[in-house]
Amino acid sequence: MSLKEKLQSSYLAFEDHLQADSPLHDVRNKAMKSFETKGFPSKKEEAWKYTSLNALLNKEYSIFPKNDTAIEFKDVKKYFLNDIDTYKVVFIDGVYSSFLSQITHDVIDVCLMSSALNKSKYSSIIETYFNKAANSDSLTCLNTAFAKEGAYIRIAKHKEAQKPIEIINFATGTEAATMLQPRNLIIVEENAHVQIIERHQSLNDNEVLTNSVTEIFLEKRANVDYYKIQNDTQNASLIDSTFIQQQRESICSVHTFSFGGKLTRNNLNFKQLGEHCDSILNGVTMIEDKQHVDHNTLVHHIAENCESHQDYKGIFDDSATGVFNGKVYVEKQAQKLDAFQKNNNILISNKATINAKPQLEIFADDVKCSHGCTIGQLDQEALFYLRSRGIAKKEARALLMYAFANTVLEGVKIPELKGRINKLIANKIGVNLGFDL
């Protein structure tokens, strides 16, 4: 049975448990039909030209994995930002872990998607927001059909989340292959502020395929800093789709750190609906072996006087492959905007590959749009300069990589997180440089 067929039959079983009269029922059925028609994306599609899912689709995934594996906090502590206090929404194999979580309903809602989807007091919110920002590509539809758990976050008007929120999805790898489909919904109301850190983490080397969808709504003057830490094990793959809708004067930054995993695809979509919005898309990709990271970004400018800034840095070693497909779409009425896109790549080995494809589609005539893309190697002259000062080759290379990624790293506004990312990079390069940029 193909994965698609397996998903179809699993859906029928899943659907049986759902309330037939729920308005969501139609949404799910429609989404499933759409997935059935489109199927998994193939390399024939322009947006998937450089990323093939074929090797992932022939595994025998468990669609609703058993979840009887207990996790001890001490074993997973390192995946949390444990030196500061945070809200935590934690899932183990797709099921909420109250033991590892710290949620709240006090002024702000940091809780569960399952509550939001099933409890009547949330029904008007779900009707207003659920699946309203997401697009209808096949994998997003698949997630919508199966959506039942994830983080639900709502920050009320003029409120600020006092602590960062960590959303962590653990996969225990109890079964040989697991498929997970978390679904997050985040609503940040007028003038509210939140910082969120998202992570998908496998706890062993079994196959995991995560098809995650997150919708984020920013009302007027809302402010969101979102950090994605992707440093998963060698057989864990992630398709992460994030859809963001911004109302006027809101600011949203998404920082994606892709350091590990078998295949990672980031679909990051911004839609600016009101004037004076600012969208910030930052990324550092640092991978090796046969790892693959694909960044597919879209900033859709609809309103006037807005800004968007993209800065993606990539360092590829061994036979690693990277894709940067960044699109800026400017509607005719989106005048006086400032859109900037930068993608710089370093290929460390001769076998590493990057496919970079910046795209600007501009229908307005009074805008400032620019993009730049570079592909190169570590600067040999700079390397000699550092070594001539007594810095060993490995450390000198590390220093140059840090320096290369610095413009993105300095955008991390949580100092503890920044320290953590610095450490992840140092571990990755195999140096013990206490290098504080």
Partner: protein, 249 residues
Amino acid sequence: MLQIKDVYASVEEKDILKGISLSVNAGEVHAIMGPNGAGKSTLASIIAGKEEFELTKGHITIDGEDITELDAEERAHKGVFLSFQYPVEIPGVSVTNFIKTAINENRKAKGLKDMPASEMLKKIKEKADLLEIDRKFLSRSLNVGFSGGEKKRNEIFQMAMLEPKLAILDETDSGLDIDALKVVANGVNKLKNKDNAVIVITHYQRLLDYIVPDFVHVIMDGKIVKSGTKQLAYELEEKGYDWIKEELV
């Protein structure tokens, strides 16, 4: 201290140095002069261990130890310092972080622990004052947007921090106005002592008014063709290099 014995070197199969021998003792200042393309910078690079330059024949020793097979960083650990003619810009690394890393990497190579932060700060302040370097300058990205003078001053600041046994100053005077030149030269002179040595590579005699050499060598076509005292530098300034060429014929 430094012994260069019959060194031949090439870059991309082009012969640049064709049999250079030079002996530098502790406490001495040597000037190396010569026309463009004579091999002055190649000599500096080959002592510092730049990989693109291939030493095809001969040996370089520091205190009797052959360093010709050593990497650039290992030579630095032995006390070799090269002040670059064109210091490299490295965005994202501040001057302070860079020098801290360099000092601690040198200490690590010697089996020492990192320098305590307070000692490091004190040393940075002391050496920055010596070279009249503004504190704000130290938090800027290494060489990025620096003027020619700032770049050279920064090189000498690094030298002051690292306290090398042998400092090679490659065209440190180029791009400097007279005031900056005086500051840099004054810095070098203060760092000079009986245990270290300096090799000054320059086109012009001007710098040698401030950093006074014990010996002056002229390189032409990859060879040292004439050696003398400071007087030789004045002659070169006055008459150019042609008379040496004629002498050689």
